[in-house]
């Protein structure tokens, strides 16, 4: 009994010591910047999440939490440009070099995020967004009236409720999911990643979903107003919409290519894959 109590006590003490050591390495740094309209905010962080949300007023606040002494946070402000960089020291790896960022920016700020692992999260902004993450999971939601440019190698990309925007997504093998994304131009380029679109194809925009071998699934409402071209060189192509034929040099081929219009054809939609399957689906009402 006494022995068990002693073991328990020693265990608790060990846990406390380890926690204290860990806490000693954890450093939280807060940075605040006053900016003007349409400020340019750049965060470079090789390892670790970056989350960006809107705040009130012309103020940027960055909270960086690091977990070892092997990374320094460098900050600079020149005019209306703010840059924060995680500077790795002493052969830091993905664990010791990790920094977690929470960023609050004005709604009209232009934001650039660079990472290897991420994940990246941005919401409710109106400025131009550039997100680069090699394997990062990228999540953008409730964004409007700006440009959204995302590049990943195999990090999955999810855009939700993005409107009035110019959207350009390039991912080699990451899956791309677009939910209620509408704008003047929506362009997705994937090699082997799947592309899933579920929205209106609205705003009289130009929509281009292209892949090499990734499947493309596009879901639109029955009242969609689109001029659509779909083709897969080696994959199967299916369509749920009754299409009005269009005078065009594009060659339709049952099962691998179709073209035509739905409704007033306000938006143009290109669904192109080399060997992936393509399916234009009608949303269940």
């Amino acid at each position: 009994m006494y022995r068990k109590q002693r073991i328990a006590t020693v265990s608790v003490v060990m846990i406390i010591i380890v926690a204290a050591l860990a806490a000693a390495e954890t450093t939280r740094k807060e940075m605040h910047f006053k900016v003007g309209r349409r400020a340019n905010i750049s965060i470079v962080n090789l390892y670790g999440p970056i989350s960006v949300k809107p705040g009130i007023g012309k103020h940027v606040s960055v909270t960086a939490t690091s977990y070892s002494g092997k990374v320094e946070i460098d900050q600079s402000k020149r005019g209306n440009r703010v840059a924060v960089v995680s500077h790795l020291l002493q052969r830091a790896d993905s664990d010791s070099g990790r920094v977690d960022y929470e960023v609050v920016v004005p709604m009209d700020a232009n934001v650039t995020l660079h990472t290897a692992t991420g994940p990246l999260h941005i919401e409710k902004l109106h400025g131009d967004l550039l997100l680069e993450g090699s394997t990062a999971n990228v999540d953008v939601r409730d964004v409007s009236a700006g440009r959204v440019h995302v590049k990943t190698l195999n990090g999955p990309v999810t855009l939700t409720n993005v409107n009035d925007a110019y959207v350009e997504i390039t991912s080699v093998s990451g899956d791309v999911s677009l939910h209620q994304v509408n704008g003047a131009s929506v362009h997705v380029n994937s090699s082997s990643g799947k592309i899933h679109y579920d929205g209106e194809f609205g705003e009289g925009g130009q929509y281009s979903l292209t892949s090499h071998s990734g499947d493309i699934e596009a879901i639109a409402p029955s009242y969609a107003s689109i001029e659509v071209v779909a083709r897969s060189v080696q994959g199967r192509v299916d369509n749920d919409f009754p299409l009005q034929p269009e005078h065009t040099s594009f060659v339709t081929r049952s099962g691998s290519a179709f073209a035509g219009t739905v409704g007033q054809a306000a938006s143009s939609v290109n669904l192109l894959s080399f060997s992936g399957k393509i399916h234009l689906k009608k949303r269940e009402q």
Binding site: N110, K151, D164, H212, F250
Partner: protein
């Protein structure tokens, strides 16, 4: 008429300053100088009309609002994929991407496409697919992977995997374009493939992530 009386009525005398009290002006150099200065200020003020220019951002915002409100009603586009309109802020991406595409296009063209020593397999359906397990990497890709390994070893495998995927894309796209050079869609595949490769290189060489 005294100078004080003259100045009291001066505001009422009109834009062109036709002075009925010209007898006072003829005799008073101070008031004459005052009127001359005020006329000069007024004349110079007119020259300031409309000489400043707003930033391009203003039109971008107006255009977005007009589209949102349905006031801009575009004609349906044609079937070809048009490059998106880029704002002045991102226009630098266009020449940078074009330069990258041309660079890789020239590289691959000089090398005659994918290396001839690659083994290729045919699936039972007769479709030609690249054997990604046995194909060698182009030397420039190997150099890139070595560079990535030196800086961020943990990312090397991810880059290799993605480079292979992109090279397969380029190969298939080139074949498709060669089969029918007039096929606009095939040309689009090829542009997309090069764009992917350019992006991989750009991300790998991004020194800000060192």
């Amino acid at each position: 008429m005294t100078c004080e009386e003259f100045e009291r009525v001066l505001p009422e005398l009109g834009n062109d300053h036709r002075i009925e009290q010209d007898e006072h002006l003829k005799s008073c150099s101070a008031c004459s100088e005052l009127v001359s200065d005020l006329n000069e200020i007024s004349k110079q003020g007119r020259l300031l009309q409309g000489c400043e220019e707003p930033s391009p951002w203003v039109w971008n915002s107006i255009e977005v609002a007009l589209r949102q409100e349905g006031l801009i009603r575009e004609q349906p586009g044609n079937l070809l994929v048009h490059p998106p309109r880029l704002s002045w802020k991102l226009r630098w991406l266009v020449p940078a991407a074009a330069a990258s595409l041309i660079f890789f296009g020239v590289l691959l063209h000089e090398r005659g496409g994918i290396p001839k020593h690659q083994a290729r397999q045919e699936s039972p359906a007769g479709v030609v697919t690249a054997d990604l397990q046995t194909e060698g990497m182009p030397s420039e890709d190997m150099q890139l992977l070595n560079s990535v390994a030196a800086r961020t070893p943990s990312m090397r495998d991810a880059y290799e995997q993605n480079l292979r995927a992109v090279n397969a894309y380029i190969h298939d796209a080139e074949q498709s374009a060669n089969n029918d050079p007039n096929d606009e869609v095939a040309q689009q595949y090829l542009r997309n493939a090069y764009e992917q490769k350019a992006m991989v290189y750009e991300m790998a060489l991004d020194r800000s992530l060192q």
